[in-house]
Symmetry: C2
Subunit: 435 residues, 2 copies
């Protein structure tokens, strides 16, 4: 799949995500992995020099979506035990099945999720799981960006803990910056309730040694918060703070149950929160205090969580949920307006995983962007495309996807992966697991 | 478009919605407007007698979705004033624009919404609006079912009130049972806060005279409830009860702010509630007490509300929201399980608008059903199709739609309406309105 040297898109509508000019009608030019021009339709001369000219008529172009928390391989468990409480679901349904996963299961299940994500406009995603070399291989092959981390549960003997930590560090070191820079890594103790304090401290030390951020689940359920207080005399935020987690740049998944004081503490450190509204609702975990977090200056991005607790990987749904639920819960109809939800799903997502110059359409930005078919009833009338994308669009409106200047999806078809083969292999994995 | 006399679908997966056998693999036979067989794949003889044989491989067949509250023509106001409070949005944005709507605007805007609804698997919908003859004409042409009602705002001089009531009654009488029975009607005073008490009583009398149900908005916002108490000394439920509204079969839209006592009163009368979660969230109206309503035996169905407050007409989203938000708000992860949400969107929806023998796939039921393309990553693995439909599917997974035995959508294309022409006319209407 050769890179097109110079791609010109003409006659399109562009959601730039820039404050001065959020919506622009005209043209965009991509050279190698960068946007080199965005503005009025170009001169005939520019068109002559193009390797590829794409008509943007009937299309909306916008930055790719960034999914900042998930476990892609859990697609193998989609629909396997719904309508249960988080702990029951984890302990009785998910973990016993996951214990049986082989590297090959993780590879094919991750590829299946990558296809779903790519085709629905996600261009970068965070993954916390096991068998991560195979996850990295899948990301490398797909052309997507991945911020990957071996998520470690430390409820095991010391020698197993040591082996897991070494493996997590080895993975993080081996893959950080690989695949033309599309893969980055983090260190991830799974959660305060699954890792003893001293083990979390070892992860903090490793993150310092490797100069990498930390990713962990935190304050997802009230039960977790109460258990943490019972066991350690501290709520999870202060617990992690005392263990040094916030001495590193950190990305926290969930953060549903936070006090004012905890929000202040997060805002005073380099801690970003991945808000997972679909998963939090489905598992009855609660509704995160997103307006307060944003108000305090915390970067809040969006994640789907794993496909077993969502149950799809449609980031348009997460943007819409983020824009909807906080209005009803707060009673404030301007809580998380459409523009904010769109930023959470794109540019703030990119910033939250330390991707620079990604998540906006402007000269010099990386060419990670998507096209939507807006020649459809639910995109009419042409009143407000930010509103339409957040309140009306969905995964399957996406027709084309580019990452790092390379087209990965064209007219709804994956260019980089063999979808039929992946679905077949995935089904074989599932059949073997349930036997 | 001739009716196929006998259609046989082979090798499909069927969500029957029957308790004993919710999912069935095999075949379904349709003759005229009815399902005459569902079960194992048929004999070669049955296939010989078929006018049309459809391969169901890779498809999931299920009852069509029933949208029990909306204002289809408000598609003209999609994205026109989002992120505002209900009263501000109504009084400053919606009503001034709606005052300019002509019959032709309503006709084309309703057709645009009908296309969106049909293509996303909705086979029957409730519409409360003005210029209803044109709405009925649009429904008649489309092949869908519509339960239609002239929604009347009574904040006007008595002679205008009289004229509107007469018009509403004339419409209801003229169209009830028309279009091969696909169109039914109701009497609809818009809301307790937009109709004086004596005017509501006149609607009750007219509903008795015509032997029709009543449809109205009720207890949508806290502000409405408080204003009702201030003006009439009663909350909306008791107010409408005293005006005789519940002496008729009634369909109430929203019912967000209800006390235990009010829920009991509704359950003791023939009152059904149309739950509109997307709209209630977006307008910050609150979260209806759906688990308590269901517990009390009230029929709770689902509606999108108008496209200006949703902003799409995707009933899969409403089913998902119904299954998700009540879990988080109640803290109960089994609140509104997937099966219940699916029933709310299909069979309970049909029952809520007095459609008999619709909303399930079984011998003798009316042939209102849809097909979804399940050969996609988000429908894998094949664990639980009820879960997949509620937690993972979306509008654009729908490929084919039948109503009353007639195919309206085939491979994603409308067979009965000219989509390109309707989009063009719709855009002309909008341009004229904003001039």
């Amino acid at each position: 799949m050769a890179l097109a040297k110079k791609i010109v898109i003409t006659d399109g509508v562009f959601l730039t995500l820039k404050e001065q000019c959020p919506v622009l009608e005209g043209s965009m030019i991509i050279e190698e992995d960068r946007i080199i021009y965005i503005g009025e339709n170009p001169s005939p001369q520019d068109l002559e020099q193009a390797d590829e000219i794409i008509s943007g008529i009937g299309k909306l172009f916008m930055p790719g979506l960034v999914n900042t928390h998930g476990h892609a391989a859990m697609s193998l468990l989609r629909g396997y035990g719904d309508d249960l409480a988080l702990q029951v679901w984890l302990e009785q349904k998910m973990w016993p099945m996951e214990a049986k996963f082989t590297s090959q299961d993780v590879y094919w299940a991750t590829l299946l999720s990558i296809i779903e994500m790519m085709k629905s406009g996600t261009t970068a995603f965070v993954d916390m799981y096991d068998h991560m070399d195979l996850v990295a291989k899948a990301v490398e092959e797909s052309g997507m960006r991945g911020c990957l981390t071996r998520g470690v549960i430390g409820l095991c003997p010391k020698e197993v803990q040591d082996q897991k930590l070494a493996e997590a560090a080895r993975f993080a070191r081996d893959w950080h910056g690989k695949a033309d820079g599309r893969i980055t890594t983090m260190m991830a103790p799974h959660a305060p309730y699954t890792c003893p304090p001293s083990y979390i401290e070892q992860f903090v030390q490793a993150a310092h040694d490797l100069d990498l951020p930390i990713h962990t689940h935190m304050s997802e359920t009230l039960r977790e918060v109460e258990a943490n207080v019972k066991e350690y005399g501290l709520r999870p935020v202060e617990h992690l703070y005392k263990l040094g987690v916030f001495t590193r740049p950190a990305l926290i998944a969930h953060g549903v149950h936070l006090t004012d004081e905890e929000i202040r503490l997060l805002s005073e450190h380099d801690v970003r929160v991945s808000h997972n509204p679909g998963s939090n609702l489905k598992l009855a975990s609660g509704v995160a205090r997103v307006p307060e977090l944003i108000q305090a200056g915390v970067k809040v991005s969006l994640g789907t969580d794993g496909p077993a607790s969502n149950n799809n990987l449609d980031m348009f749904e997460e943007m819409r949920l983020a824009a909807l639920i906080h209005k009803a819960v707060s009673g404030d109809p301007v809580a998380v307006p459409a523009t904010e939800a769109l930023r959470m799903g794109t540019i703030i997502g990119a910033e939250s995983i330390w991707l620079e110059n990604i998540g906006k359409l402007e000269q010099g930005a990386k060419a990670d962007f998507i096209a939507l078919d807006i020649d459809q009833p639910h995109f009419l009338p042409k009143t407000d495309y930010v509103s339409h994308v957040v309140y009306s669009a969905s995964a399957k409106d996406v027709t084309d996807v580019w990452v790092n200047g390379r087209q990965l999806v064209k007219s709804g078809k994956c260019l980089t992966l063999d979808e039929e083969k992946i679905k077949r292999e995935f089904e074989l994995c599932f059949e073997r697991l349930v036997q």
